[in-house]
Symmetry: C2
Subunit: 449 residues, 2 copies
């Protein structure tokens, strides 16, 4: 059994949906399909989900929302017409939207979750109906009927461990099933959306529940690139990547597959493949629990993300003061700031976090540290980018660090931080935001040319 | 006013003491002198302080201690005879030892402090008496009379802030003063020794108290080497080093001057010079608050210390778990373990400490972490050495990291950890104990040849 998930651009138009169904119908093992809401049809298009959020905004601001609703209905009508679907589903969509607005208008967060997830829901119904009409019996299954029961906090659904048992029963179904991604139902019966990675997470939950032999994640690229294609022209595609490598690269901006969606898969080592709906015969990228690595090409990928801040503290004889670190961590916790790294020297420590964590709170944090920690020097750096160089086996390969630092030195990039060791599979460099692109280029050229 | 401190080998024999007095008497600004107990006269000799500790052991084990005492008296008698000193000081030394043993035999820790510090005390009296006899009026001053009042915990004296005011009055003395190093008196009148860096600390306290223009620290080497002379044949001597650089190099084994002794000096930026009693005209090494650095030779020194342990923890999605780090730190605190560094990846963290911190507690720590932190993987590495490459301006000099990693890669040394960034003046590498010497050699050759 394979679980196949299709992203927004794969199900944005009738034509794309036909490609999707060709893929599904060409393999009997592709029995459970997760679909997204219709995405962008061209660069300047708006995703259905964003239209639905605008509809929500009209409603809660008590503005006339009919025009916005019509826009959404037209979007789905285009698909239905394009598929020549003989059904009155568009009336149902209209009625559903009106009912949700009527029932939930006094509970804005519930209404938001219900509206913004309905793009997936409608699309799943359309696609199931069409495939059935084409002669392949295909059942739409709501997340509730599939068994995706989640916590009840709006916009922050977490799967309940008990759900997996129910989901496992999907194995007994005979027909193909289409499940909308992005949301589940709470035990109280509310629609609740997943916080990040939306439909990817639904797919991962289902794949784990049925213990799929493969979780296929169809997008509009033929896999995961070794570096971001906006920075590197036609980068190589990675054939195999481990969960851990994926996590490290995602941390610094690799966005093809949401790393949080790996969590359900980790335990049962369910493999994922990232494939291209438009080029389904391309091999894609496999995400696996482990893989063989090549000592000659030990760096798997390079990513770089901007927008980090570092608080740098100096205190003479700091390392003799037990409890100093805990004091600092408590100040951060009291201010609800989660930090990422804490490299330390003998008399100094840096605390590195995403800038959005501390934005607006800089002064109060610095004052609290000054007040409570008797420090010698304190400063804050706000234009930090994190460069991640990732590959299984890096730490066991003499000279990897040297290769990268040579590339960066030759490109005249100053290293404000180096962190290697805790993770055997990555090196992390702190550089200036302005150097982000040239750092990726320099490393890519050094490692792959 | 200069404060001059002489280490054990500088005051081990009559001949050495004469060198010391030549140095003192040749400069009127050398008005306050701190002396150690007589050190080793040759490689296989025993330091007086160690003889005194053995005397203490005889006493508390209720064994016959007369032979050990005689050995000590002979040691001082050799010095007195060598100096042709016309005094009955040896009888006084004998009586003092017997009195301390009699008065403190039921308070072992007090007895230990009193006996082990008496080597400095007797030596200071002998040297002051001799210099006076030679026609240079020189006063012995006990630490109590000098104003060195400390906390009362045996073996762990900490100077009381209020002492500095009394010490400052030494500025008004007209004659030269000799003060024994290594101990102070508590407010209750007990002799209490300093924990580490003994006489260096006494000198630093006095230098700060009188706001000396220079603290001269005389030893048996002509300054601080760029790397350990046991590893590098005739290494270059450093001409100027900052307090911070000194700290970082001391951390990984530079022992010429105890870094803890820098603390009193730091605030008033009192410069230190390390000089050689046997070659007093050599320029020595100045330890300063700041210095100019040369971009072409930005690495000031290289040190490497063995005996570190790393606990490595992996947990999937660790960085999303607020409070995880604090949990780990609390386990360490409960077990009274102080750690040095905590490099982290996305899903992993390492905690690096000196092996002696965790020795014997490994299993209970690992079990506590397993029990309380729901981790995925846990292991411990016990043969870690820390290589420190230190120099002001390193972080601002593109290519420094590269130079070092090139040297290490060429020497086929695997880097188990790299930590750079928090401190602008150093890079820290984790390597195997077995690679310690070859790493220092490789870096030294790269930086200075």
């Amino acid at each position: 059994m394979k679980v196949s998930k299709f992203g927004g651009s794969s199900v944005a138009t009738a034509e794309q949906i036909q490609k999707v169904l060709n893929i599904i119908n060409s393999d009997d093992e592709r029995q459970i399909v997760i679909v997204s809401a219709p995405g962008k049809r061209h660069e300047h298009d708006t995703k259905t989900t964003d239209l639905l959020i605008r509809l929500y905004e009209k409603v809660i601001n008590q503005l006339d929302y009919q025009h916005k609703k019509t826009e959404i209905l037209e979007r789905f009508n285009d698909i239905i017409k394009g598929l020549n679907l003989k059904t009155n589903i568009i009336t149902e969509i209209d009625q559903t939207l009106e009912r949700l607005i009527y029932e939930l208008k006094d509970e804005p967060l519930r209404l938001l979750d219900a509206l913004k997830s309905s793009g997936e829901n409608f699309n799943a119904q359309i696609i199931a109906a069409y495939n059935t009409e084409q002669g392949v019996p295909t059942e739409y299954l709501s997340p509730k009927d599939a068994g995706i029961i989640v916590t009840d906090e709006p916009g922050n659904a977490q799967i309940l461990e008990s759900s997996y048992e129910t989901i496992n029963q999907l194995n007994q179904r005979k027909h193909k099933i289409i499940i909308p991604g992005f949301f589940g139902y709470s035990e109280k019966g509310n629609i609740v959306t997943f916080p990040r990675g939306g439909s990817d997470i639904t797919g991962a939950i289902i794949a784990r529940g049925v213990r799929a032999k493969l979780y296929e994640n169809f997008t509009d690229v033929s896999g995961i690139y070794r570096a971001h294609p906006n920075v590197i022209h036609e980068p190589e595609i990675i054939s195999e990547i481990t969960y851990r490598e994926m996590r490290e690269l995602s941390y610094a901006g690799f966005g093809v597959f949401h790393d949080e969606a790996l969590q359900p898969l980790y335990r049962y080592r369910i493999p994922v493949v990232i494939k291209n709906t438009n080029r389904p015969n391309d091999p894609g990228t496999f995400i696996l629990h482990d893989r063989e690595f090549n000592r000659k090409k030990v760096v798997l990928g390079i990513s770089c993300d901007k927008g980090f801040t570092s608080i740098n503290i100096k205190k003479y004889l700091m390392n003799r003061q037990v409890g100093f670190t805990v004091k600092i961590l408590n100040i951060l916790a009291e201010n609800n700031i989660s930090f990422d790294h804490m490299p330390s020297g003998i008399d100094n420590i840096s605390i590195i976090m995403r800038t959005n964590q501390i934005k607006g709170k800089e002064q109060q944090i610095l004052e609290a540290i000054r007040r409570e920690c008797e420090i010698d020097e304190l400063n804050i750096e706000q234009d930090l980018a994190i460069l991640m160089v990732v590959g299984e086996g890096m730490s066991a390969t003499v000279g990897t660090a040297n290769k990268i630092t040579t590339a960066l030195a030759d490109a005249n990039i100053n290293l404000r931080m180096i962190n290697q060791g805790s993770s055997e599979i990555s090196m992390m460099f702190g550089i200036s935001n302005k150097d982000a692109e040239s750092a990726v280029k320099a490393c890519y050229d050094k490692c792959y040319h």
